[in-house]
Amino acid sequence: MIVSIANEYSVPVSEVRAIIDFYHFLSDKKNADYHFYFSNNIIDKMAHSDLLVLQLGERLNSIIQQDPSRVCLDETSCIGLADHAPAALVNGRPLPALNPQSIEEVAELVALGRPLDHWPAHLFQVRTRICRRSWLLNMSLPPGESLLSWQTKGSATILQELQASQLRGRGGAGFATALKWRSCEEQHSGEKYVICNADEGEPGTFKDRVMLSEHSDWLWEGMTLCAATVGASKGFLYLRAEYAYLLPQLETSLQVRRDTGWLGAALKERLGFEFDIQIVLGAGAYICGEESALLESLEGKRGIPRIRPPFPTISGYLRQPTVVNNVETFIHAAAIISKGSDSFLQLGTTQSKGTQLLSISGDCQRPGVYEYAFGETVEQILSDCGADEVQAVQIGGPSGQLLGPQSFHLTLGYEALGGSGSLMIFNHRRSLIEVVNNFTNFFAFESCGFCTPCRVGTALNQRMLTRLHLKQLRQHEIQLLEESVRLMQNSSHCGLGQSAGNSILNLLHDFPETVEQLLNTIGDDNEARLVQALQPAVQLRKS
C-alpha cells in the first residue's frame, strides 16, 4: 500500500512511511470495523475511563480474539470533550459522557455488527454547554456586517481599529492580531493565505469546538474579513482530526455563505475580491497546533515547527505570506470590526483587553464554556462553576500552570496566567502526581522528536515522574528532573518543549509537601524496586 501511495504522488516511499509514523491516526493497515480511541486526558481518567476501557475490552474480548480486524481499542490524547468526560471516538464519531450502561449498549451494538449510522443518536449526543456569556457570546453578528464595514472604511482603517482594540491572539501565544495582519498586508508579492488554526489539541480545551459547532458563521466572517484586509484569496480551516464529525455541518455552513454571497465567487461582485475557504483535516498530532508545524502539515509533511524568522506573515503556506489565527481570534476580530472596539476596550486589564473563552472541566458542578473579561480571579471562576474543596487548578492546559489555593487570587490575562483558554479543576481527593504524570505522558507522546531537548527530555521526564509516582525517585534525582526541564525550557526548538515541564516545576516548587511524601528515602523502597527488577527471573525459575 505504501509503495502504491508513493507511486501515485511521486514521492519517496520513505516519505510516505515517515508521514504515517508521525500522525497518530494514520496507519499502513486497514482500520478495524470499529476503531475506538478513548481520550486519555486526566479529566477522562478522573471520570474512570480506564474502568470503562476494561469493561468494553472484556465484553468484546471474544470478538477481538476471533477477528482482530473487527474491533480495535486504542487511546489518544484529549479529544476536546473534557466537558463530557469520559469520552471516546469510534470511527471518528464522538461517544461523550460514557458510563457503564452506555458501554454495555456500545458492546451490544458492536457484537451485533450494527453500522454506526444505525446506533441510537443519544450515544453521539454532544451538548453545548455555554455557562457564562459576556461581550462576545451576547452579541448577534449578522453575516457580512464586518465586511461591509471594511468596504466602507478600507484595509488601512480596519487595521487601525484592530490595533486600537489591542486584540491579542487567543491561541495561547498572545501575539497582537493587528501586527500579524498588517505584516501580511504589507507583503507585495505572492499569493496570500488566511488560515484558521482549529487544531485545538491542548488537553482540557474545547471552546473552539463549541464555537465551531455554534458560531461557525462568525468564524467564516472573521477569516473573510482578514482576507479582505490583507488581500488573500484562499483560506483554510485546519481542523483537528478529532473534530472530523463537525465536518458535515461546517461544509453546510460554508455553502450557506457561498449561496448568500458572502464567500466564493459571489464575493467578487459584491465586495470586489474573491475568497473561499477549504477545510483540511489533521491526522492526530498536537504539535500541529504550533502555527509553523500546522503549515508544514497543510503542505502534506510531518508537522515539524519551522525555524522562525521568517514568520508566516512573510513566508507561510507554500512560502507565501500567510495569516494564521486561532478560531476565537478570528471571531473576536469580526466582532470588534462589526461593533467597534469601545465596548471591548472597556473590558479587561491594561495588557489584556476584552474577554476570553474558558473551557472549564474537572471537579466542578458545571463544566462548560465560560466567557470572562480578562482580570477575573481564579477564585471567582471556581465559585461560578461550582467547584468546592479545590486542591489545584491547571490553567492553560498542560503547557500552562498548575496553581494551588495560594495563587487563586491571580487573574486571567496575558500578564499573569497567559492567554490560552482552559481550566481543569482538581479537588482534595485527587492525586496531583497522577495529574502531572498524565501531562508528562502527554508531552512524551506528542513531542515531534525534532530537537534533542524536547525529544529526550519529555521521555526522561516521563520516566522520572513515573518513578516519583511509585515512590522510587530519590532526593538527588529531583535535581536531574529540574535540569531536564530547564534544558527543555532554554533550548527547545519550539513552545512545546519550552513549556512541557511547567507543571513539573509547579509541582516541585508549589506543592513541596506532596513531593516530600513521594520521595524515596534511602533504602526505603529499594527492596520493592528490586522485587520488580527480579520479577522476570523469578517467573522463569518458577516455570
Binding site: 538527588h476 533504602g523 529499594n526 528490586l530 527488577a533 527480579l534 522476570p536 527471573a537 522463569l540 525459575r541
Partner: protein
C-alpha cells in the same frame, strides 16, 4: 603527605575486571600511592573490612540481585563512590542484553546454545537472579564521580586518587578522557 591514608574499597560487579587490571597498570606509581592510600576491601588484597571507607571504586554495572545488594552496601560503606569504566557508567557490553528479555537471554544460552548437551535453565538457589535489565550504578545509588573508559587509563586512576587525597576536585585531562 602527613594526611591520614585514604581507605579504599574496590569491586567488580557486572564487569570484566579490565578496570582492575588498569588500576594495576599504575605499576611503580603504586609505591607512591602506598603512602596515600590503603586498600581495605578489594579483590586485589585479602582483607574484607566492613569498616567505613573513604573511596569506593566500583567497576561494572548491575546485572543481578547480588550486584545490587553489594552496591547498596558499598554506598553505605563509602563516603565517596566512583563509577569506574563504561559498564559502571552506562551498562557497557553487558547492557547489550537490554534489548532482549531475561527469558530470551537464558534460553539462547542454556537451551539453544552451541554444544549444550543437557538443555536446562540453571535454577540453583545459590545462583543470583538476573535483573530485568543491566543497570548503570547511577540508577540505583548516588554516584559522586565517574572515570570513563574501557578501561580508564591507569593515569586516570592516579589523577583521581591523588586529587581526592589532596582535597582537590578531581578532573581528567584530555588524553585521559575517553570512552573506549
Amino acid at each position: 603527605m602527613s594526611k591520614a591514608k585514604l581507605k579504599i574499597l574496590t569491586s567488580s560487579l557486572a564487569g570484566c575486571f579490565g578496570c582492575h587490571m588498569s588500576l594495576l597498570d599504575m605499576d611503580e606509581r603504586w609505591l607512591e600511592l602506598a603512602d596515600l592510600v590503603e586498600l581495605v576491601r578489594s579483590p586485589l588484597v585479602d582483607t574484607r573490612s566492613q569498616s567505613r571507607c573513604d573511596i569506593g571504586l566500583i567497576e561494572g554495572g548491575l546485572c543481578n540481585e547480588e550486584n545490587i545488594h553489594l552496591l547498596l552496601e558499598f554506598r553505605e560503606q563509602c563516603k565517596i563512590l566512583v563509577a569506574v569504566g563504561a559498564c559502571a557508567i552506562n551498562g557497557g557490553v553487558p547492557a547489550l542484553r537490554n534489548r532482549y528479555s531475561v527469558a530470551d537471554c537464558l534460553e539462547a544460552v542454556y537451551l539453544h546454545g552451541l554444544n549444550v548437551t543437557q538443555p536446562q535453565i540453571p535454577s540453583d538457589a545459590e545462583l543470583p537472579l538476573l535483573t530485568d535489565k543491566v543497570y548503570p550504578l547511577q540508577e540505583w545509588v548516588k554516584v559522586d564521580y565517574s572515570l570513563p573508559g574501557c578501561p580508564p587509563p591507569a593515569d586516570a586512576f592516579f589523577q583521581l586518587i591523588s586529587a581526592l587525597h589532596d582535597g582537590r576536585e578531581p578532573d581528567l585531562n584530555y588524553v585521559n578522557r575517553h570512552f573506549d
